[in-house]
Amino acid sequence: MSLFGTGAIGRIVRSGVGRRRVQTAVIAVATMMAVASAVVAGSLMVAATAPFDHAFERQRGAHLTALFDPARTIAAQLAGTGKRAGATATAGPYPSLVFRPVDRAGFRLPALTLAGRPGPGGAVDRLDLKSGRWARGSGEIVLDASFEGPALGIGATVRAGDTANALTLTVVGFAVSVSRTAQAWATPAQVAALAPAGSPVTRQMLYCFDSADTKEQMRAARERLTGSVGARALLGTQSWLDTKRAAEQGAAATVPFATAFGLLGLVMSVIIVSGVISGAVGTGLRRIGILKAIGFTPGEIVRAYVAQAMLPAGAGIALGVVLGNLLAVPLLSETEALYGNIPLAVAWWVNVTVPAAASVVVGLAALVPALRAGGLRTVDALAAGGSPRTGRGQWAHRLTGLLPLPRPVTYGLATPFTHPVRTLAMLLAVAFGTVAATFAVGLTSSLTAVGAAQDPESRAAVTVTTTRANTAAPPPPPPAPGGRPGPPLAHGHAAVPSPREAADPAQVRAAVTAQTGTESYYAKSETEVTAAGIPESLQATLYEGDARGGSYAMISGHWITGRGQVVVPTRFLERTGTTVGDTVRVTHEKETARLRIVGESFDTSGDGLQIHAALADFPSAEPTTFLVDVKAGVSADEYARKVAAVVQPLGGDATTNAPSGQEGVILVMSAMAALLTAMLVCVAGLGVLNSVILDTRERVHDLGVCKAIGMSPRQTTSLVLAPVTAIGALGGLLGVPAGYALHGLVMPVMGRAAGTVLPPAVLDVYEPVQLLLLGLGGAVLAVLGALVPAGWAAGTRTATALRTE
């Protein structure tokens, strides 16, 4: 007994697989690519949700982080709040404060929450120490792991502020808190020592609840807490649902497009497998007849033909699982780094479900034509296999023969009508390949547009600052899990300089205006403000001059055109319950301005809460950066050198701007899109290859006749390629609008997953020329897929072809 029931069936399967080596390879490669895409898509889905939940569960993350006023509470009272609020576990109270350390190079890090904890463990929020050790005494600090890098490592020192007598702290470890309760930790005594005089540290309590899955449950928990200590004692709370949402946004955004690619891959696999097996049945009628004549039952025939698909498909599926796991590694390691010591791998159920589903789909795709083979009457199969085909496509030959084209071309153009189902399979393969390519082009263009929209500064040729560029790179802003920025860092990744090092903005402005090469410029200042309706401070960019060059892409409304206006991101509108046209009170230090919201910006930086207003509304704020466009013909480098020569002695600097770079997540998504598209386009090409091989083999005798009566190899090639080109062009014609529509469908879903609406600049990314080229790409893809069999047809010995019946 063999794997296939009887030795005879096994022999038939092996010989069938061996006789159709190319088609066997096509099935294997198509299923491999589809399975690899699906495994990657599945992994991304898992990466979008599971890591946070796993890490949160493992760390016993805090569902609610609460800050209490030490003047209105005592530690013993806080210890009892857990029971009164219905918490299942509590930790704290921990002394905490917000401080802004300065590194050795003089750059101020973002404002960080520092919590005083005796160790990383506890009943709630058990921190993962990624490197180093916990702080044991004074002068030691543990930072969030996202700060770790070449500029800031174990043993590095930071000052607790930018005053001369600020305490120096040595970084002794890097840790991860999935619930984001703090971004820095020290001993409780150290935290108390860092508190400014007359400003005692706040008290942080961490709570776990049985029911904390909904906003309503979290609101109820907060209310119970407020009830237990009084509203004035509770300074603020942070829900784990917000942290989870922020953490999952990055990976969640990748799910829609990975799913789209996975589905495309699966559909294409079905097309390829059913096409190959249908072809095997169609071209093997005589063989089927002979098998039945010598005693094979219909069931054995069905099994034999399904097995001929399942053998290579099984190999392809196994390879696809391996390839998918390998491809998922870089994506998962990106995500893994954000969750501390949570090892991320492709989930076992992805590695089981995807191959199982692929096997079922491939099996069903093969079963339909195999059932046809099993159901054939022996005499019919023998007769059909032995007699020449007549009738099919003759009308097409009559019509195409009238076309004013070379005869080999018109003869070839009629052949698709001889096998309409095979033609349809080829058409679908090309169409889906074009869909994938069109979608990927749109996706990468949109992602590039997202990257560019987040970095409007890079549009200016030269940046002139009131501070000198430091040789040491500042540490990166700490991203929250999921890739979103954590505590605010001055926008544009430029750390806020110590005031004593800054040049006078007026002198820098004068230096810019005095330069003959200056075409236009605007100035801006990055600062923190507060806005009514939002308890925490916000990042604000305040502009001087015509700042249209630095405008963000607008979702609605318009960019600021003068004082009294503010542009805010979507999350600001959501948080404050305002809309474009409303007025909001914004306070900068001691100045408060009532600003009208004139636009909704596409801005996901600073937790999506960065606002933009005119510098003139806050007279005490001064510009720190001047963005300059130079006149045509003026070298930006030369301009920057000249301005630098003037402003450097004052404490400022001037540099040219590099084109906007892409963020890690965007790069990864773009690379994934390119890779998955390459796979699907290859599968489409293989689909064409399979169809053309079947056609060419079936027509080898006719081609031999054509060659015998004088058709040259080139004419034979054009005969084979003509119909393929036409089908490819039609596939492109169908695929481009479908890919365009898919992009229009998936991008907004990705945007929603990332918590934002996408502006037209990100959605309307296709150029007419691009679409035309993509359409032509369908024909090119089809021709590439058909080149090998066309070459084979042209090169086959005429005498051999004539002997083939």
Binding site: G401, P408, V705, G710, E805
Partner: protein
């Protein structure tokens, strides 16, 4: 008399270590001559025909047809040569089933660059001459064997070839159809067409050919012209 075919020391091996399936042999065919090549199965008749038609290349020797050496031409050049100088009719007709009779006949002319109108006129002329005009719009599958062979011969003659090659032209036909084809070939020979006819059918060879070459094991065992000279 001008030679249409000149084979000099021609041999063909499919297995480099094995004996040749044909030759070495030397043979020429004069213009207007009708040569019948006979012999048992495996004697090399079809191989000889393929070499003369440029469908295959010899291992040794030279093949000159219509004054041009074709044994070292590229596939493309041989195809061009074939459509200009050689017409072929096969035992199983080798007609394209999805083309009408007239389209089958016109095809070599169109491949050779003839205009649609010229090709149609020539096809009409041949269909008229061969008595298949009424089948012009029909597909080969609906014709009798004899009619199909007439279509195949018409297709072979459409480019006014210097040489007509016929491979067992009556081999797949019943006796009545075989008779028709025999008469057709005789008429063509009488009209001055150079013909090489490969056949098992000695009656056909006697009826149509002015000369017979008998092959045995790839070599010429008998050449009726040489015998006549003797």
């Amino acid at each position: 008399m001008q030679q249409v075919i000149e084979l000099k020391g021609v041999a063909k091996r499919y297995d480099s270590a094995g004996a040749p399936v044909l030759g070495p042999l030397t043979l020429d065919v004069a213009q207007g001559e009708a040569l019948a090549v006979t012999g048992p199965s495996g004697s090399g008749k079809s191989t000889l025909l393929h070499l003369v038609a440029g469908l295959d290349q010899p291992t040794d020797g030279t093949v000159t047809v219509a004054g041009r050496r074709i044994d070292r031409l590229s596939e493309r050049a041989r195809a061009r040569f074939r459509r200009e100088h050689i017409g072929m009719a096969f035992q199983f007709f080798h007609l394209l089933d999805d083309l009408t009779v007239t389209d089958n006949i016109q095809l070599p002319a169109r491949l050779a660059g003839a205009g649609r109108r010229d090709a149609a006129a020539r096809a009409d002329e041949l269909m008229e001459a061969l008595g298949i005009r009424k089948h012009a719009r029909a597909y080969p599958g609906r014709l009798s064997g004899g009619e199909r062979q007439r279509v195949a011969v018409a297709r072979a003659l459409v480019n006014r070839p210097a040489l007509l090659l016929a491979d067992e032209p009556t081999g797949a036909l019943d006796s009545a159809s075989g008779h028709d084809v025999r008469e057709l070939l005789r008429e063509l020979h009488r009209a001055g067409q150079t013909i090489v006819l490969v056949t098992h059918d000695l009656t056909l060879a006697e009826a149509c050919a002015s000369r017979t070459v008998h092959l045995v094991d790839g070599r010429i065992a008998l050449d009726s012209r040489a015998q006549a000279v003797r």
